[in-house]
Subunit: 330 residues, 4 copies
């Protein structure tokens, strides 16, 4: 029996929270503190990293978080400033009110400090409220300028910290400004700084009509893949379902592209198990990701590359099904 | 100058609430009581009806609601039991737990009592948590049976009250059980009772890939159009935008079908102005709806019907643009 | 090693044709005759049935088709009248011109004769041109009446023959009249005849936002599942890709529902391998379908049903992944 | 009464062709020659420009086309090489076969010659067959390199001619390589030549989840808007419907952005009236576009810009509805 040298697994700490939405306004369960969420993450057993939202839950201090992470055997990979709360419901970087923009920058600078304190890899910047809802609502030129200038200001003020933009087509805004891999790369070129990159979320790429594998390649080729998240959805929304429950083949292709590019970061979960046991959801995910890892090991890569050089989809599928569904060769 | 005999306008009372979602967990504004929402509805100036969620906000009594409605010159058209709160996050009628199902029925029976007390037209039944999230999660036969049997039990226990099912493709569940006009009509046939019908939401039909006009005709032809809501979206989600901001032509066709069928109910708003002034959003909506009403008055219906008898899309569009965009005839 | 008693496999004969579309107007390959297509179907090696378009290619006679099928060891499962050619580009049953409608009926009656001659199971009715393209183009009430009345006239004139309606949301019309499982069942109830049922296409259900498994259950519960087709797509269009290349889990759930309902018809391919080797595409498909069949054999159905009774998605997924990805248990 | 100085109108010459698709393989009407199409374009009465597919229909010479255009009072704005016919069904620039790639380049170089001969503005490059259909079919890095290198080779060989890439998310390939505004701009930066730009198709942007107005601004800001096409669709496919039949507000916003940027090119139709009278379809389109032009004249731009500076969607909508629906002010 082969022993596998699995990658490090991680999760957004919110995986272990309870959620609200516009209907279940009393929440899908009682609110849990940052420390309680860390304890739940520990229970999973296979996690090495978490991405920690900031500010922490009311009353929780940085030293408590440090201690809780140490107790749980976890490290922070990223810090996610919550620039999508009420104060920024009309935008963080692109808010028409300069006071709100300044407050967003302040929070993100604090998040950079927490990255330094915890030795994390990056500030994750997810400006979910930056964008628009209605035709004619915004001056598109001005909006894009605010988005790019704000990111530049943030990153140039913290040259020792990495900033990973997580793009998404929409939600909660009807349209998000940083909506796709290509648009984000264009913006990053305009910013012109080395410490701005991308956190590629598999589900966001699927939702946006991208091939996540292609997006990964494009971002890697420009040296900007700072992190990644996985999950699943039905392509029409950011469902944040458990990875592998819908798109087995495309997640396999995504990790294949990471492998052939020697990208060796953390395999990270960004899932919202609204109605599921959070720990069990994480375990099911990691079980599946380990299967993917082993399947990559079994994959006949030279044969696949030969088929791809001819763009032979049937042969490529035969090869990858052999690895993904090993019993298919019976 | 023509004086128009406009229809009665209404709105879901939540139009005047503040909202939360899974990101802005502190809400897009402070929570507002049922009574405060009624006051805001009054401010609009053109509203005659509201659809009232039940239970009312904490501490508010039925007599207070009655009084507030009377003060505001408003009547309740429907009562919407909130069978999508935490207790029913895994389903109301289709919850696997019979205790949760019984509690949902209890709440809906109470809502029927409020309908009687307020002289409203119907209980609106929107089982947004009934459905599933993952492939293989449910036994589809059993789920559909729970959905249909529960509706039958509710309606047969309250033969003097109408129940209007509001279908929607999804959200908050990844897939809703009552997802389309046709599926809901099939279920209603299985239920076999006269007091179960449909609340047709324009945006839900669009989101589901239906022509709202066609759905209205289908439901009317079976005598089941108990009520309707309007709003707008980008077809990919239930955005609950202000009516008329995206789909001018299709909302015009929707009201055209209601007119030629002599459907004379309330023109009702179901909108979520997350980041807008709620009163202003309602006023803009009604201004647009009055335009639609006048455009129907100007519409050359015999000419349109002649074009439709030949399925002549170009001629039909020319005719309806003449009415919808009167300046086009300059 | 287990020997499996695989189901019978079939394919639409067009699987072995060459195609045109609005861009490659000179076709993706040279036109192939009905007889050439049958020869290619034979090459696959695992096919027992084909669905044969009618009329046959120019000059080919019924007796030639009979002979070719016999030579190839194939039987006709269905006959598909091509009621979507130029003559019916504005509709077959719903064409505004009664002459075109009469010609469509004539062709379908001829197809019924071919069913009788070849001992096939059904006429497949796919009215892809019945519907509309523009808002306001049609009188929805009249259009639906034409659709239902036409089907009734056809089926009542041929009480000894089954007619299987294949619904699809759209294409080539922007909106098809028979667009979903539920709408088609509603229409079938209006028709009121036992010999009208449904050909359920997995990809059409996915494209329409349905769970194909749920649609299968709904149709079976009304005794109307006359046939089925499989393929794959990205949910946004009827791509007619090779089955199993995208949605492994949902196709598994689809066949699971057929199995627990003891539906034992032909497992049939409806694929358009525009740029692929048609025979190889069919072989890859059947290889995958055999894997699904074996996975169903390995599936712990009682455990799955127990999980489903609690709507426990995580446990259900764990169980089905054990079967679908047998190596996951290593 | 105001006299308006309308823009020049144009159309893809295929607007006046007949079409085939994968179902109506005998075509929606008889094939029409390039010369017959030019005659039909003349009939419209308001067209000044056409975009001419190349090669011309069999037997038609360049001098005949010149003469026919002159007779019709039309000029060529662009030449569209048909790099999506059978020979390139597996790709033009990205075809795995270098012979096919060379033949595609040869055809495009010929198209550049026709541009010179006819004094047209650009070669329109629409590589609709460049992309992929299946997960794992291609090496994404290699595919993108082929796409970019091929465009560079073409453009650098013809420095006196402009090349306008028309992006689209998909069709006929399941995924097109040049799929969005941002991706195309990224590629254009990699190409690094001034004579490569974008033909922005309103419907392609809508289909891709973009705001066409935002895409126009982004492309203009980089100096790459070489041309544009309008039409309409339901956002889920490139329906190529008649402009203004669905998205009145968003087409208005699109032209608003062109106006405030002083973009003064041809307002061009890219529509496929499969089942309509082509001339009537063009006339209805231009009637609507003139309405848009007049509405822009009526639009209170300073007030709109003030509302946009506050991102006040309600006020912005009120202002634009005043212009778009002038009767709304009654």
């Amino acid at each position: 029996m082969t022993t596998y040298n699995y990658p490090k697994f991680g999760a957004g700490l919110w995986h272990f929270a309870n959620y609200v939405d516009r209907y279940a306004v009393d929440g899908y369960g009682p609110a849990l503190s940052t420390l309680e969420q860390i304890k739940a993450a520990k229970e999973v057993g296979d996690l090495s990293y978490v991405d920690v939202p900031y500010p922490f839950s009311p009353g929780v201090t940085l030293s408590q978080v440090k201690e809780a992470l140490a107790d749980a055997g976890l490290k922070a990979i990223g810090i996610t400033p919550e620039i999508y709360l009420r104060k920024w419901s009309r935008g963080a970087f692109t808010n028409p009110d300069p006071v709100a923009r300044a407050e967003a920058l302040k929070l993100m600078n604090e998040a950079a400090d927490v990255v330094r304190e915890l030795g994390a890899s990056y500030v994750k910047v997810w400006p979910g409220q930056d964008g628009w809802d209605y035709p004619f609502q915004v001056d598109h030129k001005q909006l894009w300028k605010l988005a790019v200038d704000g990111m530049r200001e943030l990153a140039s003020a913290n040259p020792d910290v990495k900033f990973a933009i997580e793009y998404k087509p929409r939600e909660p805004r009807v349209k998000m400004t940083w909506d796709s891999a290509a648009r984000t790369l264009l913006g990053i070129e305009d910013i012109g700084l080395d410490n701005v990159g991308i956190l590629l979320d598999f589900g966001h790429a699927l939702f946006g009509g991208e091939s996540p594998a292609d997006s990964a390649q494009l971002i890697i080729d420009r040296g900007r893949l700072f992190g990644m998240d996985v999950n699943d959805n039905l392509r029409g929304w950011d469902d944040d379902l458990v990875v592998g429950t819908v798109h087995m083949t495309e997640i396999f292709e995504f990790f294949y592209v990471l492998k052939i590019n020697n990208w060796d970061g953390v395999w990270q979960l960004d899932q919202f198990p609204f109605r599921e046991d959070n720990v069990e959801a994480a375990r099911l995910s990691i079980r599946f990701l380990k299967h993917i890892y082993r399947a990559l090991d079994k994959l006949d890569i030279p044969a696949l590359q030969e088929a791809q050089s001819r763009q032979d989809a049937m042969q490529a599928q035969r090869i990858i099904q052999n690895a993904l569904l090993s019993s298919i060769e019976e």
